[in-house]
Symmetry: D2
Subunit: 355 residues, 4 copies
């Protein structure tokens, strides 16, 4: 008896695309990776060597991927700038979509995906906020829900990458939406998750510096940034993002409640090994986001696959991805202008007078 | 293009057997679980509900499993007492074998499996020492091999289970070979791995108590035991095993070298969550061996599958499993008799005079 | 040979005053506690029982303490509201002064102490920022100075007290200057220390909530607050203060540099004990500020005594205490008004237009 | 009012003697260090520079120290070989005695001190087992006493020094009594403390190696040793001592009970600082015994002083120090002979037949 499998394709084979492709190929029993597409010749060569031997068709054009015989779903893992248009094209072609975060670098672009999805309620469309699938974050969420810490009131969260000495992230900044939309989007999504999707933002304020890469300024970006988000119901999220960590990927979160506190990954560790040498006791860290969240990406792919095959709701609401971009973009704007930004009751950016 | 997969069956569906079966079903892309067998009606019922829907045939008799059409390999996960005979029967039937540890509760029984395997060099036969497949142990081994700690000289290792208030382990003790053969076998295997497979034992000595379960004495077993193993080349391994941990599974290892030390899992943790409440900061632990080593069992299954499909040597030499039983059984004997046991140059138990 | 000792008196015997008095009595070999003063009858009774037997004179009036025969120095540990006037009176009487933080709840009041001290360069006047005397903070500072983390660029620091269920802190808030002046002053001082005393503030912004004690609002205070301080030279300090911790005192600091990071007390611990019980592994925390910094207060008292007896500069510049209040008061104002506050080049509060 | 102070002298100004002298000089308010003695000219020179300016008389001969006008007590911190004779001479001279561990390198020698003390019940005579004064060990003991871990059944403890590349410890080994009497004596004392002073030893067994210093063999010593102590009431202590740690002083203890476990210093730390650099997160360790137990030595000195001035019993029974040497010497003998040593009911070494 051969079980029905989800025929899925991956669009984009950059750093994240390769990982998504291998993930669907190796770790998702109910999915079959059947095709990939990328405009980049080197990436196609990689696919020919690593994916084609397992029966995966390699396309140059995304449109051809969408036309692949039997394809049911697409994982959009291309550059942020084309997330939205590729997701919308897939929906138009009747494919289920797992889209890498963010949906787009602006609220308007992100909203177009939500609108397209709303028109096709038969399709599963999900934005991949990987931390929602991480075992530790889920454990913390479940403990909070059980009342263990009283009312969650303050959330501190950070997304901090190792310094990439190649400076790749400067060029990348031109299209990433900036450090708050690219990195802190995860922390913002955590705030929405832990405080409740309907939490309304009252104000945002952010500051940033270029400690290691002054060239980021030409793209209105920074390499270290701190943001503060006030919610209307008397809660605060404060965020830190950095691109210059020395030791490894440092993504940590504290959820502080009226009766206790939960932390996730306060002291990052790669594994259970400790090294004793002159100078002290040392342990290693994951060196990048994938190293920390590899298992979460697998769970994400498995659960997306299940929601399609079982026709159940996707585990993360799509609208939430727009709210996250709204907050991230406002923080980015505050950081660049130096202005605190306040929102009115409806959740739109208001004027200072309202305060 | 459909890749060739290893058709494998699992014998025994007790606690570990169920886990092995699900592991091969879900996590090993190159293997297909095609059949299982167990004499236990409840276990067969479980299999009918959980495995049969995925196309797995359920047998009562092991002989029928071996006769399953197209079967290439067997995972022996039955009671320790039948490990050897089932492994030998599988070899006789021309099947590759992945056998749960230990091969048998005595050296002689264990050796019969090695002998049977030696007669069929075309078959892959491996004893599953799961820690050899754990990412942290592998990282520690690799760091040791790189010279990071000088010459490894002392190894401390423990296998400590949570107290099972049902007292199941008392009945289990009758056939387990005792705490050193059942639990410490892992630590002994680590010593052989880290000190080198050809390390020769000079003496063993052990003591034990029944702190929580005096009934263990009727099976010549204890619930807490400490053993010391001297090697001829000036190295020491000292071991602790317990069945009464309160907090969780505590399997820890230190490898102490002339220039440094490596530890694995000195302070066990379930995940990245920490809980702050009145009374302090707390974290949870895995509650059993599987919880700690789940990923290692998957790696073990994947690598065994690869060694069969690729016709490469299995990652753990079978002879090593006999040596581990030899040391474990001697420690068990020392614990019960109160005598230190010395080995002569050939590795056989000698007399005290030799010292 | 009897060594000359510093004859010191302590003004105020509230929670901190008692500790300072006992500290000078027991732990400072070169100082003699000769007298104390407090207007509170209960506190005087305590002093009669605990200090008088060791030869300490107990006064009701501060003026009498200042007139105590042979007195050379005063430790001002009274209510914040009288810090400045008592310090100035001591200076006028020709006494050296160790004053508890803050000098005053406003910049102007704090400055009066600095002015009085400037007029008497023969006297040692120091504001007690206890963390500057903590072994861990000093170790971190020294490592930073050695270049270990490159250029320090971002400082995260928090002062978080255990929830006091008596609600004492509400009444206390009326005169404390608010959470930023009372608690975060320590973190602000750390920023000035680690970034350099001459770091100029560019802007501050803060938000706060009353998660457990709404009554704080009548004194324009909050029980949880987040503040962000931008410095002109491209550095950021961001701060968190709370009065509702469940597990214990949580004072932690991160100093993030371009080549590394140093943390102090990221996971607070009381001692070296870990408790393994069902539910996990747990450790306790200091329950208050004194529990965490007891040894630092002793070092502070010893070093202040040494600076007087040896006629060397006090280890912490007095002017720094005014700058800390300036920043703390601005954060408090920002939290209450909702306005971001910018400073002009001279370090005075400017207008928004400047940005 | 000048309080009465204990006039104390320190005999021996080697590594530990210097520390004891400075400890009494600086940290014990109720004691006055009035004199010291040492036959070593360099040590006397150090004393003239560091102690004499504070009014401390420096003697060459111990007899002269004992004759110092007004002396009430002596701290014996000389070489282990003369501990007993100096302690006895002090008792004969009517002085209270705080003697560094061990009382002697043999049971017989140690017993002579107990006998001498028994004849002078008016004098306080204590052997300085510093860990009994450590805040963490005391906390663990108190938690165990409260029933938190059920019945303590297994104790693991280690005393592990940093490798001294000068090889000083080889010469030192000639007179130290060996690694079990010199280092493990602390762990043995902990077993007696935590299991109860009246716990009777049933057997001991030990093994040792010379991993870094083969020359130790000429003094019948080893640089790494593992010992196992069985108690008659069904408890086990197992010990590890080493002189080759790379990272720092590693003195750790686990007390394992039927309902829980307590650990002390499982991952040694110097302070609250963590260092993040390429390669991971690191923390430093105390580099020697004093670094780890400095505060405990101060508490020990304060409590010894209090017991003399208040005429209360000393906090550690003197007889316990003989029992510790008895066990340590037996372990040392077992390590060298290779024989397991059993004790008869009276606690004397018996013969193997008894088992």
């Amino acid at each position: 008896m051969a079980a029905v499998k989800l025929q899925i394709g991956v669009a984009g084979l950059g750093r994240m695309g390769k990982r998504h492709a291998l993930n669907f190929l190796q770790n998702v029993p109910r999915a079959s990776l059947v095709a990939v597409s990328t405009p980049d010749a080197d990436e196609r060569q990689w696919a020919k060597e690593n994916l084609a031997p397992h029966g995966v068709t390699v396309y140059e054009k995304y449109a051809d991927l969408l036309s692949h015989q039997g394809l049911s779903a697409v994982c959009v893992a291309s550059a942020t700038a084309v997330h939205a248009e590729q997701a919308i094209a897939a929906i138009a072609a009747g494919k289920h979509v797992l889209c890498e975060k963010p949906l787009g670098i602006s609220v308007d672009i992100s909203q177009t995906v939500v609108d397209a999805a709303a028109a096709r309620p038969d399709l599963k469309v999900m934005c991949g906020f990987s931390r929602r699938f991480d075992a530790s974050y889920r454990d913390a969420y479940s403990k909070m829900q059980s009342g263990m810490i009283g009312r969650p009131s303050v959330l501190r969260s950070q997304t901090c990458d190792v310094l990439d000495p190649s400076g790749f992230f400067v060029a990348y900044a031109e299209f990433s939406g900036g450090i708050f939309v690219d990195c802190s989007i995860h922390d913002i999504d955590l705030a929405l998750w832990f405080f409740g999707e309907d939490a309304k933002v009252r104000s945002v304020h952010a500051v940033g510096i270029t400690a290691v890469e002054p060239d980021l300024r030409k793209y209105n970006d920074r390499d270290n940034a701190v943001g503060v988000v006030e919610f209307n119901d008397g809660r605060i999220a404060y965020l830190y993002a950095s691109r210059m960590m020395a030791a490894g990927q440092e993504d940590a979160t504290e959820i502080i409640g009226t009766k206790g506190k939960l932390t996730v990954n306060m002291v990052p560790t790669e594994n259970h090994v400790r090294i004793y040498q002159p100078g002290g006791i040392r342990h290693e860290l994951p060196q990048n986001y994938w190293g920390r969240f590899r298992a979460a990406f697998t769970t994400e792919a498995i659960e997306f696959t299940d929601s399609v095959l079982n026709d159940t709701p996707v585990p993360v609401k799509l609208e939430s991805a727009v709210t996250a971009v709204r907050i991230g973009a406002a923080l980015q704007k505050s950081m660049i202008t130096g202005e605190k930004i306040v929102f009115d009751e409806s959740g739109s950016e208001g004027d200072r007078a309202r305060l």
